[in-house]
Symmetry: C2
Subunit: 441 residues, 2 copies
Amino acid sequence: MKHFLAAIAMITTAAQAQEVTTFDLDNGMEVVVIEDHRAPVVVHMVWYKVGSADEPVGASGVAHFFEHLMFKQTDVLAAGEFSATVAANGGSDNAFTSYDYTAYFQRIAADRLDLMMQMESNRMTNLAVTADNIETERNVVLEERNQRTENNPGALAREQFNAALFQNHRYGVPVIGWKHEMEQLELEDAIAFYDLYYAPNNAILVVAGDVEPDAVRALAETYYGVIPAEPNLPERIRPQEPPQRAERRITYTDPRVSQPYLTRSYLAPERNSGAQEEAAALVYLAELLGGSPFTSDLGTALQFDSQIALYTSASYDGNTLDSGTFQVAVAPAADVTLSEAEAAMDQVISDFMANDIDPARIESIRTQLRASEIYALDDMQGLARRYGAALSQSLTVADIQAWPAILQSVTETDIKAAAAKVFNRDQAVTGWVVATPEDAR
Amino acid sequence: MKHFLAAIAMITTAAQAQEVTTFDLDNGMEVVVIEDHRAPVVVHMVWYKVGSADEPVGASGVAHFFEHLMFKQTDVLAAGEFSATVAANGGSDNAFTSYDYTAYFQRIAADRLDLMMQMESNRMTNLAVTADNIETERNVVLEERNQRTENNPGALAREQFNAALFQNHRYGVPVIGWKHEMEQLELEDAIAFYDLYYAPNNAILVVAGDVEPDAVRALAETYYGVIPAEPNLPERIRPQEPPQRAERRITYTDPRVSQPYLTRSYLAPERNSGAQEEAAALVYLAELLGGSPFTSDLGTALQFDSQIALYTSASYDGNTLDSGTFQVAVAPAADVTLSEAEAAMDQVISDFMANDIDPARIESIRTQLRASEIYALDDMQGLARRYGAALSQSLTVADIQAWPAILQSVTETDIKAAAAKVFNRDQAVTGWVVATPEDAR
């Protein structure tokens, strides 16, 4: 039971341009209302705090599989009727599954919010999936895996690298699932997953657009408030990584690879509630090392000065419930071996650690981030998504609203300290992706 | 419920020197009696078909932890009284935990079998573990991990290599547990594990020695037969590996390493019920490649001819419920790099695959195996252990008894075919173990 934010107490903040109002229903469902009255449109989202990393062992892919099943029949809706109704009312809908959440969206005229809630609350609890649905939709998701993964050497390589990066955590298992386990998914797996996790006390309702919080609350109480909380919802504790003690190196060989490249993925701290500073510093680190080929360390050193590389990048993903990742990648120029490219990449990293950072570059990133945080406020759907994702990854509304200021306060010392922590080869996978064994040199 | 072998129908085989009698109790407990009347001694074992690979995710180490707790108090025995009673009666006792089973043994005068069953059946169901026991014994197993693993660079390296070898299966998690998860093991974890898995329908009783099957049956019915079957015992299905698509390479660096070495572990077929032929061929392969330094391919080529290596080995472990492993290892001589040693090792493997096998060598291994299978019959405790382990890894008595003949029937073609399947670098981890980064070359 959550008592810290009673349904009766509304918290309204104006830290950002939008009014953001949050409250809980009595059954534990969290509600976020983001007012944006510029256009008579609404985005309605339900986020379930369950993703592929919460799946039962041996049933990988069931979270994403279930996302598909949610568009099948309920006690009152025929299969496909949900999306057809959204479209008939001039809206669009979508859904997606990640490691940490499964989310369902509709964007539609504001006066259709009632209908959206009616349908979405109906499938939260009255889905009527049959063995036939399972058979059909299992083939659909297997085909999706074929297209996205089996036919994509980069995706296959990523799967292998991820499986090696995580020694214990389910982030090492692909969101779409291992094929051999997807083939075994049965009606019982799907129903068990639905019964346990699709419940108001495991869900976040985000409504953004031309709405008033009081009206949203009245509707939410009517449609979602009547659904009982799931009493057996488990505490969300996932297995954590043991100390990682040695770099893993993998060469993935696939004749379909057109351009060899290498990546290195490091475990990295993620954004945590009340402790987002390291994550903010890593946002800068990724920009400094690989943000733009014209200004970043990897880009200027490898793509321009030495012309060793055709492509370089650095990226940070700390928007995760558990451990985040920091990744660098280099595609070598013709006649440059992967060994040479990797050595050059590591030299850039060592140089970065050894030298001071030009304050003007930090200032420039700070300005870019300020601008992008301001632009983000204009993107109603993006903002709604940001709230839904962050709340389902155990951040709070206060954390989300504090993030732009935390980003602005990052210093060189913070960046260097975060980099020193992340650049630990013992917690990393270095992957080479090549077409032939001869390219792996 | 198992009806295929009713308690009333005894099967007696004389395929081997000993009489082996098997039957089931009505509650599903399997019983194996191995008669050996040479000395008035008995080995009494209870094998539970649960090991570390059956543990709940996030609770690694609980199977082994529970093995320790089984020596604490029950409703009638004080903590430590079990072992003290065995010793006071001139016997010895032990227990151990593996990926696939947890087993409890006593070796004692044959007329004390009644007492052993009385005590062992008592702790199958009446263990009375307290929070205090947990606190104390958790420190004991953590200290065990310190001694066996944390203070042993080879063991730490093996953990890292294993975690990379298995992408999905729990064989990638150490039997003793990850330290950070062991620290979190609580009374509820232990009790949940005990309640579910410590039940007669999940156990195998093996009694070997100077006993008569009828007498064992009468005692087993008295002590074990009265314990109800666990109705919620789950089917034993573990997550299997996805297709592995790229070799993993790991250099484990630890200043405590006194001699650098390298290992390569491949996934390999295991012994399966009714299909043990590939496993038998791999027993030969391990002998041919690394059996003795004086005759094996790795030994003669690397330790004698080129003197590249101080030590070589090849080993096969197919006594597993799920995937087995095949491993080769080389410790290079002074002034030989690990790269050179690995290249030489791979050359030995290629040469092996390219050339015929001398029939005399196969014949010599065949003879050794025949001899060791005959000697095995003399080792009452080893034989009892063989039955308990195999039955808890889903082999049958018929499989165990067929094994010596299957070993004898292996041909060169079988060995080559099994080798061609196993020597797939995409399903392998190559690990280097060194003291300093400079040694990794």
